[in-house]
Symmetry: C2
Subunit: 220 residues, 2 copies
């Protein structure tokens, strides 16, 4: 998991390069904690950025949903994309406006996404996507039928050209600013799941399953 990885000119972190990290293990931690990405693609020179769900399976990302539709409607069965996953972790309040920042971990993956056409691979991709987002759910749901599989678009993107960027910890002020009389520190931010809300069409006293009540994105 911790292979050496040489960033390409396109994924090298240029600005504040000390925040760039290139090992696969760090990138995968971030990709595994997130499940919403922003997919960028180009139509007639215009960039589009669409939020969509994804899953990681080995060294591939699978994305599906409306982003895939929009891409495939305009383009061929493969498309140059940028997939970005961002985990926001806090506001960083420095003494100077200039040194205000955010704590976050993010990954950028560049490459060519290809439509998954094979029915068996598509089903496996959907299962890995579902398990990525909510482990345990797939087995308890009504499985996709042939018509639904046909109506579902899944794209596969190899995780080859990528970089991660991480900023954590307290603010870093210019030395002469530390005497400036203002509060400084971090306001942590976290995506927190609430108690599950039953579908109104469920019977009374139906208890949500454990995977819904104990939902968490933290590493298991």
């Amino acid at each position: 998991m911790s292979e050496a990885h040489v960033p390409s000119a396109r994924t090298r972190v240029v600005r504040e390069s000390h925040r760039g990290v290139y090992d696969r293990a760090t990138a995968y931690e971030i990709l595994d904690e997130g499940f919403i990405c922003h997919v960028g693609f180009v139509v007639d020179g215009q960039p589009f950025v669409i939020p969509t769900a994804y899953g990681r399976a080995g060294d591939h990302l699978y994305i599906h949903g409306s982003a895939a539709s929009r891409m495939l409607r305009h383009l061929d069965r493969s498309v140059a994309v940028c997939v970005t996953v961002t985990l926001l972790e806090g506001l960083v309040l420095a003494r100077s406006i200039f040194n205000h920042s955010m704590n976050y971990r993010s990954v950028v993956v560049l490459g060519t996404a290809v439509a998954v056409e094979d029915a068996k691979e598509k089903l496996a991709a959907l299962e890995s996507l579902s398990e990525h987002i909510l482990p345990g759910r797939w087995a308890e749901s009504r499985q996709p039928n042939e018509k639904e599989l046909k109506a579902t678009l899944v794209m596969r993107l190899p995780i080859e050209e990528y970089s991660a960027k991480v900023r954590q910890g307290p603010p870093i002020d210019d030395e002469e600013d530390y005497k400036f009389p203002t509060w400084a520190g971090v306001i942590p931010l976290e995506m927190v799941p609430g108690p599950p809300i039953n579908d109104p069409r469920l019977g009374p006293n139906t208890l949500a399953p454990h995977y819904a009540r104990a939902y968490s994105r933290k590493p298991r």
Copy 2:
């Protein structure tokens, strides 16, 4: 705020078009609750998607930071962008895998972002950006000096070509699936601020200001 708005062919919500909303008030509610966007731009045919902070001031978005740097390093003082803001609000668990979904509100703004060059406008843009993210903080911080202003990149994007997309509420299953014996409902997700963490270099017993202790993105 609730002007009629005709989406362009590029921003019309194509898939699940019932989720598309085009009034400015809805888009601005979403833009005002968020403060991190994903900016898409194109270099040599390759899309890039970079997370960055933004602020709304009237009918413009201001973005700054590394996204602006990367764009401006490669491109001219103006660039075709797509700015996407996504507020994730829940996992939607249907009975069928196919009808699983997310609750979210998102806005896509297309257009040409222009570098803010004028020092006075840049300062005003930075103040509105700061106030957008953390109201009250600007006045209590050490103000930007001339050198810092020069080192800061700010881009301005008019909110003209845009659309919003909203999905809320319980799962919608196919009628024949409602008898399928599995739990269904929503796992709510919310970005929650934690108690502020003091910079270790602050004096002991320093209390974080109200705007940090009571931080919230909900409409004020």
